[in-house]
Symmetry: C2
Subunit: 406 residues, 2 copies
Amino acid sequence: MTKVPFEKRRGGTVTTPLGFLASGIRSGIKQKKKYDSALIVSENPAIAAGTFTLNRAKAWPVIYSMKAIHGARHRGILASSGNANCFNGAQGKAAVADAVASVAHLLKVSPEEILIAQTGLIGVPFPINRFKRGLPKLVERLSPDGGKKAAKGILTTDLRTKEVALSFHLGKKRVTIGAVAKGAGMVHPNMATMLCFITTDVKITKRLLRRALRRAVDETFNRLAIDNDQSTNDTVLILANGQAGNHTIARVDRRYRLFRDALEEVCRYVARELVRGGEGVTKVCTLHISGAKRPTDAEKVARQIGTSMLFKTMLAGADPNWGRLVAAIGASGVDFDSKRLDISFDGVFVLSHGKLRVSNLPKARRVLQKREFDLNIGLGKGHARAEFITSDLTPKYVLINSSYSS
Amino acid sequence: MTKVPFEKRRGGTVTTPLGFLASGIRSGIKQKKKYDSALIVSENPAIAAGTFTLNRAKAWPVIYSMKAIHGARHRGILASSGNANCFNGAQGKAAVADAVASVAHLLKVSPEEILIAQTGLIGVPFPINRFKRGLPKLVERLSPDGGKKAAKGILTTDLRTKEVALSFHLGKKRVTIGAVAKGAGMVHPNMATMLCFITTDVKITKRLLRRALRRAVDETFNRLAIDNDQSTNDTVLILANGQAGNHTIARVDRRYRLFRDALEEVCRYVARELVRGGEGVTKVCTLHISGAKRPTDAEKVARQIGTSMLFKTMLAGADPNWGRLVAAIGASGVDFDSKRLDISFDGVFVLSHGKLRVSNLPKARRVLQKREFDLNIGLGKGHARAEFITSDLTPKYVLINSSYSS
């Protein structure tokens, strides 16, 4: 990634870009007194792009939005938490259509302009009446300061909201990208259970917006692991309303790449926040694999290590057990040169050109006691690289996940 | 599998088949006062077959035995625990050759007739002198009652030995198959960290012995998961010495299939024992996937569920969260009919033809509180099936694995 002067906005969120309103309320989907509904709206017609779960058991809102995303113009994203609206029969499908029509009516836009995403328990009838009764309030409360409330409206077991906004310049125009997300548990490559809504005031073609989003998601959300499961509801949506007033980005040029890099930076920030906020997570480790023959090799090694339960428990125990790392590298099936293999934690080498550095082990142990650190692995076979974000696996993760539905 | 009258032998082990001797001792590889060396020998020249880890980082004994296995005649298996003899440079390679030559000399056989397998920590120089000093005692103590001691010689963190023997009749001759194994932690499909040594007095060609072993390993050891890692040392070896005196099995006929099924039964028993004895395991769940379009589909679903951390924590919590199962089935990418999907625990349906059976949930919860139970999933798409053995994921697993090397 090119280094560019991205300005991180203080208290930045999805309403930081020009022309976006948002709201979040409690409409009673959750039994607990918690926010469970959110709405994000552009003042003017915007364009949209999205990426969705690869799970074959797709929730109704995913099925709906995967189709709706192809429209030319969009105005808003309706979201709810507490009920995944998945695997609950025809009632769930009807609930999506009903909710979308209702909110479109209240916003005085066409239903085709509304996207929807939901998260929560699978297989439970969706409480459409309660949700619909809340919609007038949700619309009424739309505000340019509503980002934080929208962020609260999509949380499930998350401990805190995930929000960010970055700005950068395109010529003389300042462009902003904002995002809110939910994660927790089940977050894994290939778009695990997470919702992320991104807004931007950039002017760009729909084709390039889609291209930039795909790439950003691939490099960030698809390269992280808390556990190794994939959800039925994962959705990333972006709305671009053009209010920054820049010349439309319509070609793959320097300006496109600037936007693309900023979008990737926003997604990377959110991805790291998702791992930090994962169930039972106490440590975040960013893997940097280098020296691979080809990029897919580097990614394979990163994924093998990042999803290894033995590696993740090793992080929990702050134990620089490089033997497990060698076993995981080998298990990936990827070519590496055992005589040139390097393994280091935050620059502390435990293996250097295939030789154990025993005297560094105590120092490496101290690195592993930190809340965040990097693990660099050099395979000694080529020049391809990959990055991956992973977490430790703690007894707390097990405790949280062994009593979710009951 | 055809149902045949296999007789499980009381106290059966690797010395139960005719003409096998074994021994186990402490030679000081482990710092703790525990057995760490084992030897299994056939009185007469035998034939051998083996399957080995697919990990690219293979331990020295694996590299050695993968080559040696091609010999026409074998006499014994030398094994040790405490040191994996892996990723420790040329010293480790020399140690294998040295140990094999020493034991062959003591047994008055050719080094080519000896197979070797080792398990333990990676990346530590192998204490070849200590090991060699123990070899005379190991040979001296060879005995037709030595199976139990050999079983103890290969344990690492295992809580108990894994041994079994089955007999069956081929015409008027009684044929016996015996096995010892070590597992614990890291046990996963594709031959995870485990050693299994099988002896049999059957008379069979080397080609068919290999074929039967491959199939048995594929259906059992490659279909289980404790965690999702693969070791550098996994080895399954079988010796057949022909002392049962049956007509040589030389064709794929009824007699071959009888032997093959018996061998598979031995491996299945050992596989279940490996899962039962896995680190921190309190529950063993056997998955039966049916109604798949093709066998690979059934296997994919079985593997997706069997290795899902969310599924395994759900077992720990005795929570029949069928939503997670639907998500895991979907994540496998395999075709299923949501209107014909069946999910039942020990015959208690929580989903029947795609419909939730709420009233059965308390009963299903009671099944999940048992130490062993079956999970049946019908995909409603065809007639292919697959089986898979998995365990719960407990806080204890995490605690054990977060402090292994230190």
